[in-house]
């Protein structure tokens, strides 16, 4: 059964230095508040996993929390580059960043395999691309019935998955709706999970397109209203598009990035 905790407690209990950590949320419901708490608690040597390492991972990478990144698309969506990610890959600042690079289809299937208790997944993927030359977690596999050769990728089983959802009830059952991406798979694939929510309510009114994670499949739930800002939580907030635009300038320079993170993350506590 999920424990209801504060965000600070949740991160302190569930995220350790050196862990493999997946913060998921596909443009919607990105767990920014939890990411900021990881920065505040100064976690180090994390292996960060995420299909779309966007601004939230730019922040974690720039603050030196990560030693490794497993991903399929690293950009500022609708804007351009992630300057902190690029600085780490191109110039090793603030620390070298090892990368393991996949496609979306590959990453999604790696989570599916992890959630399914299987060591690998099979897909039609990567064919003809240069990715298998650089990523050793892409291998051929032969169909035992037809002899056709397909692609195998290993399961992802993070130490911790962190996602943001609209609501939980007091028993810790979690409800999200709208675009729910790969969050169910990430939580089920992980050894431990933390879900931040906009609201804790008495009963979860059913919603079309909902995904429900029963309390017994979640480690901890923390209240974090607005916790997906600058992304959005459908029914609660809209995307702060100006922030994504502004991030380009903030993050382009090491000093302005560091100053911003101190002011807005390290020296501040979000409204959680």
């Amino acid at each position: 059964m999920a424990e209801i905790v504060s965000l600070a407690e949740g991160v302190a209990e569930l995220v350790n230095d050196g862990d493999t950590v997946a913060l998921e949320g596909f443009t919607h419901l990105i767990p920014f508040a939890a990411g900021h708490e990881i920065v505040r608690q100064r976690r180090r040597d994390l292996e960060l996993v995420r299909m779309t390492p966007d601004v939230i991972y730019d922040q974690l990478i720039g603050m030196g929390c990560a030693r490794r990144l497993v991903f399929s698309w690293g950009g500022n969506p609708g804007v351009g580059s992630l300057h902190r990610f690029r600085d780490a890959v191109e110039r090793g600042w603030p620390a070298p960043l090892e990368i393991e690079e996949h496609s979306h289809a590959g990453m999604a299937n790696r989570y599916v395999a992890g959630a399914s208790g299987l060591p690998f997944a099979v897909l039609r993927g990567y064919t003809g691309t240069d990715l298998p030359r650089h990523t050793d977690t892409i291998k051929p596999i032969t169909c035992p019935f037809t002899g056709e050769v397909l692609t195998a990728v290993p399961a992802l089983n993070p130490d911790v998955a962190i996602v943001h959802a609209q609501r939980a009830d007091r028993a810790g059952n979690v409800q999200m709706w709208g675009i729910t991406g790969v969050q169910k798979e990430a939580v089920l694939a992980a050894r431990r999970s933390l879900v931040t929510v906009e609201e804790i309510v008495d009963t979860l009114e059913p919603m079309p397109t909902q995904v429900v994670l029963p309390t017994w499949a979640v480690s901890a739930v923390a209240l974090a209203p607005g916790g997906s800002h600058p992304s959005y939580a459908q029914g609660y907030s809209v995307r702060d598009n100006d922030f994504y635009q502004a991030w380009d300038a903030i993050s382009r320079d090491r000093d302005s990035f560091t100053a911003w993170m101190h002011k807005h993350v390290l020296d501040a506590r979000r409204n959680a």
Binding site: G75, P77, G80, E90, A108, G125, G128, K184, Q234
Partner: protein
């Protein structure tokens, strides 16, 4: 170029015209999304827009701000998980058209969105990476590419094959067992390129009004072949332009394209 419309507008209109009504189109954010939404708002009202965030049949009345804009989920026929959109909808070949952009394209239609210069481990420019593109390029029945043309972007050979086009030429897709037909058309700010049926090399088949073969050749990093029956496209109609501008205005200002 006419002063009445920009090269980007011409490119977007030309791309939108490629989309047939009633087909299903896997849409990337940026130029592809703009063109697909323009098509749906003009000649192709039953165009099915599929976004990798899991929105099938999205019907936004403005341009989405991201691939996972709430308006896509709100207006979709169905919202499915990300694994499902790739496994059940893209992978089996259910999608007619894949609509891709990129940072580099080569003469055989291969696309690079991963890294430029240096080597993979120590690149000069690190790009966002693959996203959904490798499997879109492989599995959609055909692919439309939309990209601004320049010697830096249209190169002899991409530094990294993120999305496979025709490899080194004719027969490569078949040898690899890829099911989709690959990039059937490339729309640029100067004109339109299509693969030569025999060699699969991209050939200039159409110029936008006001553009010249010399401009196109100068903007191409390989010796550009020009089709014998090179034609000049129609300029944007008043209606196409006004719908395109209204879509952008509704979004709250035009957006730049994701990428380096």
């Amino acid at each position: 170029m006419s002063a009445e419309w920009s090269a980007d507008e011409m490119m977007t209109v030309a791309a939108a015209r490629q989309l047939r009504d009633g087909t299903a189109c896997f849409v990337g954010i940026g130029l592809p999304s703009t063109a697909a939404n323009l098509a749906r708002a003009t000649h192709a009202p039953r165009l099915v827009l599929i976004y990798e965030s899991g929105c099938l049949g999205a019907k936004p009345d403005r341009l989405p701000l991201s691939i996972g804009d709430g308006i896509l989920a709100d207006t979709a026929d169905a919202v499915v998980s990300v694994p499902e959109v790739f496994n059940y909808w893209l992978q089996p070949g259910n999608i007619d058209v894949g609509f891709l952009g990129g940072a580099q394209l080569d003469r055989y239609g291969n696309i690079n969105t991963t890294a430029i210069g240096g080597d993979y481990g120590d690149p000069k420019v690190r790009l966002p990476g693959a996203g959904g593109a490798p499997e879109i390029a492989a599995s959609c029945r055909e692919v439309i590419v939309i990209m601004r043309q320049s010697p830096r972007s249209f190169v002899e050979r991409v530094d990294f094959v993120t999305s496979f086009g025709y490899g080194t030429g004719s027969g490569d897709r078949e040898r690899l067992g890829l099911r989709g037909a690959g990039p059937q058309v490339v729309i640029t700010d100067l004109g339109v390129l299509r693969p030569d049926p025999a060699t699969q090399e991209l050939v200039l088949t159409e110029l936008h009004p006001g553009a010249t073969v010399e401009q196109a050749s100068a903007a191409t990093g390989w010796p550009l072949r020009v089709a014998d029956d090179l034609r000049t496209g129609e300029p944007p109609t008043g209606s196409e332009l006004s719908v395109l501008r209204a879509l952008k205005a509704a979004t709250g200002g035009s957006r730049s394209v994701a990428g380096a």
